[in-house]
Symmetry: C2
Subunit: 354 residues, 2 copies
């Protein structure tokens, strides 16, 4: 499909928006361009939680260069806010700066404000067009949209397995099953998700650091499921120099990073677990294992996609990806939808949507 000029300016907004990835959560990723006579005269984006919104950033950048935005068009991938939050409402500024027309990607998914920004703009004589590159805009802010509309973080299961469905050898001497490209890709994912989450057994068997190996990027929070507080603080994941370790336990808090949540027989209800993570203002988690944790998320149905890395190795009788989870008919089994397929070095990455 041919891209229109509007699409191209919106694509630029989306690109600018991604620069905030990993830093603005639980807020949305937003980029903004101001256009006059078919040329971009200023740009901005939402850089950090609590900082200026993208529109304000674009206005400030124009002012710094003494560029007049009067009568210009403004493109932004999310409906401008009309309420007082950490910053004054963007629609007021748009009106004050005499912007002629506003092109909006998608409406604010928050039902309470949905459309109010647009209404106020129109009532003040600003032309508005919205739903430009709608699905791209929704995809970019899938974390934020889940946070607002489902009141839970967006959940990605990240699975790395042998072609025949094992995440490890029986003796766990199988580091690593997938190759360099896949592992580097996962490090990139970690720099964008608010948190990574693993079960207790993965900590014991693999002792992962769960950080981003490229120091240019920020590390995610590390959530460890350990209902009975069986883990001691010697594991890498509890090296809390950055204050980002969180252990979810049903026991009395023992370490500074312990967060309490009631369990039944040492098992957390996934819905309760996600509610807890939501209440901590996290909008996204990547579940990295192991087989019990994957099984629990799969059974709950509370996940959004699976990043499935398939190694070209055959491991035979190993640790199955989903622990002890049986069906008696195909209808009851989990059917996923393929979103994309690509070769990644010696592995294949299949992204499934639920």
């Amino acid at each position: 499909m041919k891209r229109t000029e509007e699409d191209k300016f919106m694509e630029r907004c989306l690109y600018l928006a991604t620069k905030g990835a990993g830093y603005v959560s639980p807020n949305p990723l937003v980029g903004c361009v101001i256009v006059k006579n078919g040329e971009i005269i200023s740009e901005g984006w939402h850089k950090i939680f609590g900082g200026n919104h993208a529109e304000i950033d674009a206005f400030n950048n124009a002012k710094r260069k003494n560029i007049s935005v009067k009568g210009a068009s403004l493109y932004v991938n999310l409906e401008p806010c009309s309420h007082y939050g950490k910053t004054p409402p963007c629609v007021d500024m748009i009106i004050k700066e005499k912007i002629k027309k506003v092109y909006i990607g998608i409406k604010d998914p928050n039902k309470k404000v949905n459309g109010n920004g647009i209404k106020k703009l129109i009532n003040n004589g600003v032309e508005v067009k919205y739903n430009i590159l709608k699905s791209e805009c929704e995809k970019l802010n899938k974390f934020f949209i889940s946070y607002i509309t489902k009141k839970r973080p967006y959940v990605t299961l990240k699975i790395a397995q042998s072609i025949d469905g094992n995440i490890a050898l029986k003796n766990y001497k199988s580091k690593w099953i997938t190759g360099y490209e896949s592992r580097m890709f996962v490090h990139g994912m970690r720099s964008i998700y608010d948190c990574v989450l693993v079960g207790r057994n993965t900590v014991v068997k693999d002792n992962p650091g769960l950080r981003v190996n490229n120091k240019k990027y920020r590390d995610p929070f590390r959530i460890i499921i350990d209902a009975n507080s069986k883990l001691n603080n010697k594991y890498k994941v509890f090296n809390n120099d950055d204050g980002k370790s969180i252990r979810i336990t049903s026991n009395l808090a023992k370490y500074e990073y312990d967060v309490r949540l009631s369990s039944s027989n040492g098992n957390f209800n996934i819905s309760n677990l996600l509610k807890k993570i939501y209440e901590m203002d996290f909008n996204s988690i990547m579940v990295e294992g192991g087989s019990v944790t994957f099984k629990n998320f799969l059974k709950s149905g509370l996940f959004d996609d699976i990043y499935y890395f398939i190694s070209s190795k055959i491991l035979g009788d190993g640790i199955k990806t989903f622990d002890n989870y049986a069906f008696d008919t195909l209808n009851k089994s989990n059917k996923l939808k393929i979103s994309s397929v690509k070769q990644m070095g010696d592995d294949v990455l299949i992204i499934y949507n639920k």
Copy 2:
């Protein structure tokens, strides 16, 4: 890479050659074009086992239309034969017809004749160029090359599994795991392989017909591994109306289609099994299951590629693709090479080479 004129004529030979697929085994697939002033003036291909070779077919077609081939160039994807077989040697005919130059894909893989055809042509004043689209020519005749050089049929494991490594539910109520596109693709494969092969348990649990559902194409031979002759003749696979059922057994022959091979404790040695199939003049087999048979082929290392169909379903605790096969280190596990990856409906087909 840019295709030269030579490449294009050789591609045409390869295309023509494929028309014989399924009908010329164990002989090679061969196509031929005769070119004058940059135009194809005649074409031919090897149509059926025992029939005219491609070169002779092309000469005959030219004669039928009263077209002179004198001084023309001849393209053929495999070195013309120089020995008397079921038909007279093609090089003699090429010399007699006064072809000026012969463009050859690959030499005859048979060490005994390898290069002899070329030598005879050159000694008789015919110009020769060879190794044109070498790897494509080798790929097209991989069955024939295996038959000649390894003295065993080319072996493809065709696996259809859930994403988490199960070929069936525990109760076998899982027909089918993969979707329509994948299954139709497999029917196409059956029409090209000399034989499909399954183990006894697959016959009992699935009762497959193992034929091609499109009657335009020919069915493969059906080889059933049943060392102790436990199967009765009521299963679909033994409907021998076409004389293509073969049971390999170590017992006394009971049915007309029984072929004897000695086993140890009811297990066939895969190398012996392939020797037996080779001696029946089959150049290719597709192994369709089940988990014990897949395990035995994998352990033997006697296979050439795997067509791995991965369904978007998760089955949990089912029948594992490879039965009861464990490794203690990653080094000992089977590492494959990805040849291609593509989405096929709701499935992904990964082709691995060994």
